[in-house]
């Protein structure tokens, strides 16, 4: 967990933010290939232009870690990162 995320944690279950996984889309790198949204729509969404962003501030619910890794491993622009 990064310190600058701390204020946002107050309304999230502690276990999910302290021990959980987070995904990030680097919007400067994303070119709208749409792989993450196709593979893990629980974790990513796309805007009207087809560019991706993470849902729920990137928090990966328990059980969806493999989907997060799959999305990362299929991004042609290397725009997705994971914090564990």
């Amino acid at each position: 967990m990064r310190i600058d995320d701390a204020p946002m944690c107050s309304f999230l279950p502690l276990s999910r933010t302290l021990n959980g996984m987070r995904v990030r889309v680097d919007t400067a790198k994303c070119q709208g290939h749409n792989r993450c949204y196709a593979l893990a729509p629980e974790l990513f969404d796309v805007d009207d232009y087809g560019n991706a962003h993470e849902l729920n501030d990137g928090v990966v619910p328990a059980g969806l870690e493999d989907k997060a890794r799959l999305a990362l491993a299929n991004c042609p622009e290397f725009a997705i990162s994971i914090e564990e």
């Binding site: 070119q31 949204y37 232009y49 299929n74 042609p76």
Partner: protein
């Protein structure tokens, strides 16, 4: 085809991507260049000087470098823009925006098109694509021998993009003729090509005029209504974008569908696996996109530039073979093997960087549905080896004739 350059004997120093042997033997040629000749960038004097980088790293670098490489022309031809009687509009607009545009204009022209091709706009087309595919299969009747390219793959994208643009479906033969003109006939006499391009322009002008008089809910009316920074698009911009959507929307997906079916016709184990396991099909389609990526783009060198020891001259062509990048063993494990359940697949079939294929969501939908319907209707089929598979010529690779024998149907 009139081939003015003659056949190739040296793929390292005198290659020609429009020699029919290139697409027929493409993987052997790349492997020989990279592994035996240790040549990551091939060169030819043909087309007035052309380079062919082959590694993922180099293809990625050129795709991202809009400072040294321009998109003013993305299809290699015998005439450079400066040699043309009527040169294309200069960058940043080019003659088929946004594919022929450079930043910063590119960003605006692309932003205009993106919403029309965003995932949520494309998803609703699925049923219509499925219906088109089923009707094509219905038309084959109970024939044992069919051509999966001629009777199936080639029709699907034409019918979809013609409907989206608002052009008559019965003109699909014309559209395929122009696809051939733009992408395959690059070796022909420039004067002959110019005349055919004029016919293409006249056809589009007619339909643009028709849309001006009778606006409707389609992409041509959308373009006529659109604005960039408060201004309506110039007529050349509207026509150029229609050219782009028509040409890029047809040949590429037709090739992708054809190559996928070619793989399934020649690999019975993979075919059986996908028949039994429909959930695996989308992953397999991504692998077909990686292994048989149809599209090689091109750039022009802006000013003389030393690219990793290659002395590139201003206005030299640089081919961008995303299909070769997709087979780079430094990026893909077992790169030369087709693994239909490949989990990690960062393939670049739709390009890299700011020019990522604007129609990629539509192309994926068409490929997935086309493969799905073909496998559902023909759960068992094989290559009909008594006839020849014919591959396209030039920067878009796929089977133009794919004779198959249907062994089971439903």
């Amino acid at each position: 085809m009139t081939d003015l350059y003659g056949p190739v004997s040296d793929w390292q120093n005198d290659f020609d991507h429009a020699d029919p042997k290139y697409n027929e033997n493409i993987h052997e040629i790349w492997t020989d260049l990279l592994e035996n000749k240790k040549c990551p960038v091939a060169h030819t004097e043909r087309y007035g000087g052309t380079w062919l980088p082959l590694t993922h790293e180099y293809v990625h670098e050129v795709a991202y470098d809009t400072e040294h490489f321009t998109s003013r022309s993305v299809v290699v031809s015998r005439l450079k823009p400066s040699q043309m009687e009527i040169p294309p509009p200069p960058a940043p607009i080019g003659n088929a925006p946004p594919i022929t545009s450079d930043p910063p204009f590119h960003h605006e022209a692309r932003r205009l098109l993106l919403p029309a091709f965003a995932p949520k706009k494309i998803e609703p087309w699925e049923e219509e694509v499925r219906q088109i595919c089923n009707e094509l299969i219905d038309k084959m009747g109970d024939a044992e021998f069919v051509d999966a390219a001629v009777q199936y793959a080639q029709h699907i994208p034409v019918m979809v993009i013609a409907r989206m643009l608002g052009l008559p479906l019965e003109d699909s033969d014309k559209f395929r003729g122009w696809v051939h003109l733009v992408l395959e006939a690059v070796n022909e006499e420039p004067e002959t090509r110019r005349k055919k391009f004029e016919e293409f322009d006249a056809y589009l002008d007619l339909h643009v005029q028709n849309h001006i008089e009778n606006p409707r809910d389609d992409l041509i009316s959308y373009l006529l209504d659109a604005e960039i920074m408060g201004n309506k698009l110039m007529p050349e911009h509207v026509r150029g974008t229609i050219v782009l959507l028509l040409i890029a929307g047809i040949d590429t997906t037709w090739s992708g569908i054809g190559s996928s079916l070619w793989h399934l016709a020649t690999n019975s184990v993979d075919r059986r696996r996908l028949v039994e396991n429909p959930d695996l099909r989308p992953t397999a389609v991504e692998e077909f996109l990686r292994a048989y990526a149809p599209v090689t783009m091109a750039r022009l060198v802006k000013e003389d530039y030393d690219f990793h020891g290659c002395p590139m001259k201003a206005e030299d062509w640089v081919l961008l073979p995303f299909p070769a990048a997709n087979r780079d063993p430094n990026v893909f494990e077992d790169a030369d093997k087709v693994i239909i359940d490949r989990a990690e697949n960062r393939h670049a079939a739709f390009g890299l960087g700011i020019h990522r294929c604007v129609g990629s969501n539509l192309a994926r939908l068409e490929m997935n549905v086309a493969v799905d319907v073909f496998l559902e209707r023909f759960p068992d089929f094989e290559l009909n080896t008594s006839e020849e598979v014919k591959w396209s010529v030039g920067q878009v690779r796929g089977p133009r004739s794919l004779p198959v024998r249907v062994l089971a149907r439903r």
